[in-house]
């Protein structure tokens, strides 16, 4: 069931009445949430719900009872093997099978590896990461062992199971176990839902339909200017799409009495890649840092090893998004970018900052540079294949300024204006979000209806996709 459908709205509102009205027991509410979450997963496919149940049971036994039989090192090894196994079977098998076949074919060896037709269980990429957080927190004694039902809810909580954000057990389980739950900031929740509709239906869908999808699907059939515009447009498309989705589920969770972690913090304000990753998909980047980069050795084993760890962590982050060479290259590019930044900081230590008079220019140039590097990497992230990415880069390589000004002056002006005004727009949105809790109830629906009506008037037909739901 799509979160943006009429039936979801109807069922969710009915569910809220059942959830908040008849009793005042968090335990009962938790059971209702578990039932609703499993029902949602089962609507996609009953087997997905059974896999989720089986996985929850495995994690419960491993985290709550496994330490009686296994030392933490082996317990983590078992957990990692299980998750990698699940990912390989459900997510990566076809990619590995085809890649190995192609590589062997290139050496003249024709071998047909067996095929496997399995559906990727909805939410596997997210609830498996949730489980890592729980197992590690319990082993580190940051968290008491949770009951099976609490753990079930932590893993299946429907607002964040489909496309995140990735909740940490330390922050989320206490909310599940809190006996004083209440409906949180309802007007802010409604504001977030409306903002999500605006981002998804208007900005993301319009850019995707008009500037991104046609070009990325056939780069050589479009002019260099269109290719370049498509890259800029995709940077905003994916931002509006994913941050819009995050706003949506954050609003839904507030109605249920839960606070989800922040996933975005104006990422295109970043002046370097490290800052970008502290602003973009924050829950994933912090997860990769804590559970991949640091266990690999982090920055504790010398400069060279640190850089290798950065590169590896970023490539794993890329592969998490999907089984394709393009995602691995995307991750590797970000890894190499961070390494280059580290190298730069080695040569010019941070305390050698430019004089104040130059810091304004320095900061904004850095922001422009960082945005363009991120856009460059997005080419690989969005392209259907490596061939398409190369075609697009070749096309962009032949861009001529005169041609751009002649044919796409307004479009590039719009891109520039959006980039320049982005800090202001971010501030306005934050202020509006804060103000929303003071909005008079009586006028609220009228104001929202007018804004959303305008948005729907310009939005393309059809229901927008959630890009991150497919990862």
């Amino acid at each position: 069931m799509n979160f943006l459908s009429f039936e979801f709205v109807a069922i969710f509102v009915t569910f809220l009445f059942l959830y908040w009205l008849p009793f005042n027991s968090s335990a009962l509410r938790n059971h209702l949430l578990i039932a609703a979450s499993y029902a949602l997963v089962a609507l996609f496919n009953l087997q997905f719900a059974l896999i989720l149940l089986g996985y929850s049971l495995f994690i419960y036994l491993l985290a709550n009872h496994g330490d009686r039989f296994l030392r933490p090192k082996y317990l983590y090894l078992l957990l990692a093997t299980t998750i990698i196994g699940l990912f390989v079977v459900f997510k990566y098998y076809a990619f590995f099978q085809e890649s190995i076949q192609d590589a062997l074919a290139a050496t003249g060896l024709q071998i047909d590896l067996p095929t496997l037709s399995l559906l990727l269980p909805i939410g596997l990429s997210y609830y498996s990461f949730h489980s890592v957080s729980y197992v590690v927190s319990v082993q580190r004694r940051e968290l008491p062992k949770a009951s099976f039902s609490d753990l079930m809810l932590y893993l299946c909580f429907f607002p964040s199971i489909i496309a995140g954000p990735i909740n940490r057990a330390r922050h989320f389980l206490p909310q599940i176990q809190d006996s004083q739950r209440s409906l949180l900031e309802p007007r802010r929740a409604i504001f977030l839902l409306s903002l999500a509709l605006l981002k998804l239906f208007l900005f993301s869908a319009w850019l995707a339909d008009n500037m991104v999808d046609p070009v990325f699907s056939d780069p050589s059939g479009h002019s260099p200017g269109q290719n370049l515009l498509a890259v800029y447009a995709y940077a905003w498309t994916i931002y509006f799409n994913f941050s819009g989705y995050t706003d949506l589920v954050t609003g839904v969770a507030l109605f249920l009495g839960f606070r989800l972690p922040q996933n975005f913090n104006a990422p295109y304000l970043a002046v370097n890649l490290k800052e970008f990753w502290s602003r973009w998909h924050i829950t994933l980047s912090s997860f990769i840092r804590d559970y991949v980069y640091i266990p690999l050795g982090g920055g504790r084993k010398g400069w060279l090893r640190t850089q290798m760890n950065v590169l590896l962590a970023m490539m794993i982050s890329g592969l998490w998004h999907g089984a394709a060479t393009t995602f691995v290259i995307w991750g590797a590019l970000h890894g190499l970018g961070v390494i280059a930044l580290n190298l730069l900081h080695n040569i010019y230590p941070k305390h050698n900052t430019p004089p104040t008079s130059l810091s304004f220019i320095y900061r904004h140039l850095s922001r422009v540079l960082c945005f363009h590097f991120v856009c460059f990497a997005w080419i690989f992230f969005r392209s259907d294949s490596l061939d398409h990415a190369v075609l697009m880069l070749q096309s962009i390589g032949s861009v001529q300024l005169q041609g751009l000004l002649e044919h796409y002056a307004y479009e590039f002006l719009a891109v520039a204006v959006l980039f320049v005004l982005y800090p202001v727009l971010t501030r306005w949105t934050e202020r509006l979000e804060s103000y929303s809790e003071q909005m008079p109830w009586a006028y609220y629906p009228v104001a929202l209806a007018l804004i959303l009506s305008l948005a729907f008037s310009f939005s393309p037909d059809g229901m927008p996709n959630f890009i991150y739901a497919s990862f």
Binding site: P214, W441, L452, F456
Partner: protein, 397 residues
């Protein structure tokens, strides 16, 4: 504030805002509702009230104001208020009444043509999420044909194909001519590969108007017969039309905008649907444009797959009877009968062809289909085309 009060106030905002939005966007939301739930929207009864109709006028006035603003900003002249809406380009009228005994050779399974299953249906709007649809049986429209009518629709309605016109094996195109792609999200995946190959190998350009969530069942959402006729009219260099659609269609559909709903696969439904296929083919033929019609392959969701196979029978009979080129993607993917596979049905290629939803295609699948369509196109270089023009034109009908 306690939870109940917060909830009631929140519901007030959500429902009041929702009601205002439905009031202002009632037409587009009605179309959306029809496409997704295959029945009239619940607010249809309100249409007779003046206050409800005012919503359409408010929206229409706003849309016109915005359109005028955009035109003015672009420096384009505004049409005088008194000017009538430009008359649509006359499109070739399809056979006005299609007699049932004129329709041709179908291979229908009786259990496919009926609408008696109670399974939920799978929407095809997104690549990533399967949306559950209400059962087609849920249509409460009083005029829907009975299940008996639907069963009757499963009977062969048309003459055997042997009596049909001679059909082409290949479509032809020459230097300087263009290919026009029409279809839904399946075509959106295939067209770029085909377009790139045509450009690379023959230097041909193409026009891709494919749009997701479109088909022939809901012309109020997107009218393919009209769009195709208009596009062919405006682009005389188009020589080949490739059509690939279907999975958005096999549900109850309105007989006319705002009209009564016809039950899927009933005789009336089939008659109307066939007329739209014919309208497209006729548009092309009347402009000397060849047609390649690609039928959707079997799909993982059984209910959708069965329904699409019924549609394929309609496409095949209409296209072959009109003497155009028909490509069965089931044959391309080597699927035996009604089976579905993520890979080639005969196991000949260990490369995944279908995407996770079991409806769309992987890049390899898109390329395979694009190659199959490409192989049905004969490129005639300019000189030879000119030489062949006379005899070729006399062969047209």
């Amino acid at each position: 504030m306690d939870n109940v009060k917060k909830l009631l106030l929140s519901c007030y905002v959500i429902f009041a805002c929702g009601a205002l939005l439905i009031w202002m966007h009632q037409n587009s939301l009605a179309t959306f509702w029809q496409q997704n739930y295959h029945q009239p929207p619940p607010w249809q009864a309100l249409h007779q009230h003046a206050f409800w109709q005012a919503g359409t006028r408010v929206h229409s006035a706003t849309a016109k104001a915005v359109a005028s603003f955009v035109l003015e900003m672009r420096g384009q002249p505004l049409a005088p208020a008194s000017d009538p809406v430009p008359a649509p380009t006359p499109t070739p009228t399809p056979t006005p009444t299609i007699e049932i005994d004129l329709a041709a050779g179908l291979n229908l399974d009786t259990d496919k043509g009926t609408d008696t299953d109670t399974d939920t249906d799978t929407d095809t709007d997104t690549d990533t999420a399967m949306t559950l649809e209400p059962s087609a049986n849920s249509c409460q429209c009083p005029v829907c044909p009975s299940p008996e009518d639907a069963l009757a629709a499963a009977e062969p309605l048309e003459e055997p194909l042997s009596a049909a016109a001679e059909f082409k094996q290949q479509a032809e195109i020459s230097t300087g001519q263009r290919v026009f792609f029409a279809g839904d999200s399946m075509m959106q995946g295939v067209a770029p590969h085909l377009s790139a190959r045509l450009r690379r190998e023959y230097g041909l350009s193409s026009l891709d108007l494919s749009r997701h969530s479109t088909g022939l069942a809901y012309p109020s959402a997107f009218n393919w017969p009209e769009t195709i006729a208009q596009t062919l009219n405006d682009n005389a260099d188009i020589k080949l039309l490739a059509v690939f659609l279907g999975p958005n269609d096999p549900w109850n559909m309105p007989s006319s905008p705002g009209g009564k709903f016809l039950r899927y696969a009933s005789p009336a439904w089939e008659k109307l649907y066939r007329s739209r296929i014919r309208e497209i083919i006729h548009s092309a033929q009347s402009r000397n444009v060849d047609v390649i019609w690609v039928s959707p392959p079997n799909m993982r969701p059984d209910n959708l797959s069965d329904r699409v196979r019924y549609l394929n029978g309609l496409y095949e009979s209409e296209v072959l009877q009109a003497g155009e080129v028909f490509l069965s993607s089931n044959q391309v993917f080597q699927y035996p009968e009604a089976t579905y596979s993520d890979y080639m049905g005969d196991g000949s290629l260990k490369q995944k062809m279908r995407s996770g939803d079991g409806i769309h295609f992987t890049i390899a699948g898109q390329r395979t289909l694009a190659d199959a369509v490409f192989n049905l196109i004969t490129f005639i270089p300019q000189q030879q085309a000119e030489h062949d023009t006379q005899p070729a034109s006399s062969d047209r009908h």
